[in-house]
């Protein structure tokens, strides 16, 4: 009987990891793939009966801004993507990325107890979601509930999380997983950008902020793998090029003695700043 290896994987978005650039992790993933299925050609139905579903879940902006708060970072409104930019986003790509960016900005404002800025970014997010056709997720009743509880930081944080979970589910239901992946990218990248900017402008000890930035290498690997799935899309292919460039710099960041490579750190700062500018300037 002729035997063939059949790999059946659903790759379910909203986070995705397992980086092809990481040696150990690649081995581990290959191991899991190798053990999936080894079946004969006349057993396709049997193969279908046994699926290994792989999820990769990226940290949300909620998680990143909590880490920033704990590190002693401060709030700086000038770092946010201005809400006035909302009207210049028209393509699905720009809307999705910047919905993620706004999600991170509103999480940052909420955790740092800036209620008016939080509601402004929530309103902007609603506009973006509506333009993307994500209907009824940020409804008028959700906005009212949001406004009424604006001073309850944890309640608002749970609302933000629920909204983003709902948006992701909506997009997947409608076979728009690529759009969902761009929202994830925008949110994660804004967290990295804010951490880097705050680290640069910090007047005190910024060690914890730098550690947050270093730890984002794990998430970057996840992000690259997520984008790899949709690399046939030309927009995503371009973004993937930028992410791979950032990953290359990350590999130089920590020296063998555990010290930070200052020149790599400076290069990372410049690359993250320029990529974020491209994202919010709709380039």
């Amino acid at each position: 009987m002729k035997y063939l290896k059949i790999l059946v994987i659903y790759v379910l978005m909203i986070g995705i990891s397992s980086c092809s650039n990481s040696g150990n992790e690649q081995n581990s993933d290959n191991k899991s793939i190798d053990t999936l299925l080894d079946v004969s050609s006349d057993k396709l139905n049997e193969a279908y009966d046994k699926a290994v579903i792989i999820f990769y879940s990226l940290p949300s902006p909620v998680e990143t801004v909590r880490l920033m708060k704990r590190s002693g970072a401060t709030f700086d409104e000038s770092l946010l993507n201005p809400v006035a930019n909302v009207d210049k986003y028209t393509t699905s790509k720009a809307l999705a990325i910047n919905l993620g960016v706004f999600g991170a900005d509103l999480s940052y404002a909420n955790v740092f107890e800036q209620p008016q800025i939080t509601i402004n970014y929530m309103s902007a997010s609603k506009k973006m979601a509506d333009k993307l056709g994500i209907t009824n997720v940020i409804s008028d009743s959700v906005m009212s509930k949001f406004s009424e509880n604006l001073n309850d930081r944890d309640f608002i944080m749970n609302m933000i999380s629920e909204i983003f979970m709902n948006s992701s589910a909506f997009l997947k239901e409608n076979q728009r997983a690529e759009i969902s992946s761009l929202i994830v990218l925008g949110g994660w990248f804004e967290g990295l950008y804010l951490s880097m900017q705050l680290s640069e402008t910090s007047k005190g000890d910024n060690t914890e902020l730098v550690n947050i930035i270093i730890d984002q290498k794990l998430s970057l690997e996840d992000m690259i793998s997520l984008m790899e799935i949709y690399k046939d899309n030309s927009d995503i292919k371009l973004l993937l090029g930028d992410l791979n460039e950032i990953y290359r710099i990350y590999l130089l960041l920590l020296q063998e003695n555990g010290e930070i490579n200052k020149s790599a750190y400076k290069e990372l700062y410049q690359k993250v700043t320029s990529m974020r500018a491209k994202m919010i300037d709709n380039i």
Binding site: L44, D49, S57, M165, K172
Partner: protein
């Protein structure tokens, strides 16, 4: 010929995944958030839910950060019997938590280091896997403790 069959199979699976997600949103929002306990934990906002049948497995990869307290919980519809999950250290492959051993579908832990973990969910094969399907949601929360 076989290649075409495989492509067709993969297409069906990918198309079916949209349906699977669609049917699990309410379950994740209701049962998932309830078990996560949003009074004590802030949900991470990610949608990790799908409709499965007996015999299927899930592997979910996620990074956890130093100094945070997390809750991981897996909820399954009652049509799926005896669903279990394990949390495995990505680097060393050590099992850090087993729902079967702990007799709990909730794991609360403090992350001493930043690390990647793998959540492995097992859905036991049933005698009639074609008819028994149900939603599974994997939920993550961070403890509300920062001032």
């Amino acid at each position: 010929m076989l290649r075409n069959k495989l492509l067709a199979l993969l297409t069906v699976l990918l198309l079916a995944s949209g349906v699977s997600w669609a049917q699990c949103k309410e379950f994740a929002l209701d049962e998932g958030l309830k078990q996560l306990d949003t009074e004590k934990y802030i949900h991470d906002g990610r949608f990790n839910a799908i409709r499965l049948r007996g015999g299927d497995d899930i592997r979910l990869y996620k990074s956890f950060f130093q100094g945070e307290s997390y809750r991981i919980t897996v909820v399954a519809e009652s049509t799926l019997n005896d669903v279990t999950f394990e949390v495995v250290d990505f680097k060393e492959n050590n099992v850090l938590f087993s729902s079967q051993k702990s007799k709990s579908m909730i794991w609360d832990f403090n992350s001493d280091v930043s690390q990647r973990l793998v959540i492995v969910v097992h859905v036991p094969k049933d005698q009639n896997p074609e008819t028994l399907r149900g939603c599974i949601a994997i939920m993550f929360g961070v403890k509300k403790d920062i001032k």
